[in-house]
Amino acid sequence: MTNPQKLSELINEIDATMRMAFAGKTFWIKAEITDVKKQPDKRWCFLKFIEKNGNIITAEMKAVFWANTYSAIENFETNTQQIFASGLEITCCVRVRFHKRYGLDLEVLDIDYAYAIGKLELERKQTLEKLVRENPSIQLLSSGNYSTINNRTQLPLVIQNIALITAPNSDGQRDFYTVIEKNKYGYAFSITPFLTTIQGDNSSRLILQQLQLIQSSKQQFDLVAIVRGGGSDIDFKSFNDYNLAQAIALFPVPIFTGIGHDRNTSISDLMARQHKTPTEVATYILDNNMNFEQDLESLRDRFFDVVDDLIESAKSNLVHYKQRIKNLSPQTILQKGFAIVMQNNKIITNPEDIELNSEIQTLLRKQIIHSTVTKKTNDEK
């Protein structure tokens, strides 16, 4: 071994070779990202690109976003509505860099969102197809909506016992409680919270666990509300998970989702009854109960209108009969100048009963006339 080189001499040589090969060149690559470390305050992001064959990593390289391209991450998140995090496959434009101290890495210059969106949409389509294929109770309707056991289950007339799946101390939880508890109708509710992380990699499994807890609970619930709020427009991934969507579709208690999104509908939303925000879920529940009370009131009004009518008509019938009875009473007849003929304290209606020379009494308005019958003739009228 003669005249060993200094490290810097070798590195200089590598540096020169790398420059020669890669200076000024950019490359579009497709790779999975991992070990993503974002530093939003400095607007840097360190990560690794990997490629796998099965579970074996076959290629790996460090990479970095600097401040001038950090906005690519933000745009990616806004456009694809998913968090730029480990596990994603992205297509991006990179430059090869060699640093004499820090070695080889790739500087990311741009991300192709269209690729990511296309991939997400494909995954979504495949998940939906699988749900319909493997669960006969899930049907795709001509409207593009899905009919499931869950969203076919009739809502109770009144919703009072609610299982609330949400993240602890979240805006969603707060919004939901605010609307429910401050309702102007004075309706009472029993809300049982089932708290869990509702965002991030594991969350679909955690939400699923909460659903299982609700199902095995002794308490009877009218409704399950899954709410998430507070501006987070990204990370929809967990709600597009096959297992969670399937569990929701088959769940026996009606589920309302309010996971805070205007533009997009997750697969979980499609399997349940979708509302946009936690506030809208709570408002719908109040309206539902108010509708019941209004129906009840209209039944009550109908009932008592009939009662009033019945009493009124009974009263007027009574007046009518009273008048008829009065018209027919002997007193009325006598007033009008008619007379009643009696013999031996009996009213005589058949003139044949009266014999000649017998005594009869004739009742007039105020007096009784006593007379003896001297002659009987037929009325020729």
Binding site: P156, L157, V158, Q160, N161, Y185, G186, Y187, A188, F189, S190, Q219, N289, F292, E293, D295, L296, L299, R300, R302, F303, F304, V306, V307, L310, I311, A314
Partner: protein
Amino acid sequence: MKSKLTYQKAYNELAKLVEEIEDETMQLDTLAEKIKQANELIKYCEKKLRSIENETNELKGE
């Protein structure tokens, strides 16, 4: 206590009472009884809408 009344049952019974009373063959002598029943059903629903205590007490008692 009395058999478990639900909103659905109460509503159905009230609807039935309305139909009965709207039927012209309604006998007046049963009217008072029907009014009493209707009032009880309405009171039940109105009270239940605004108080959850009954429910939890019943649960605790069981």
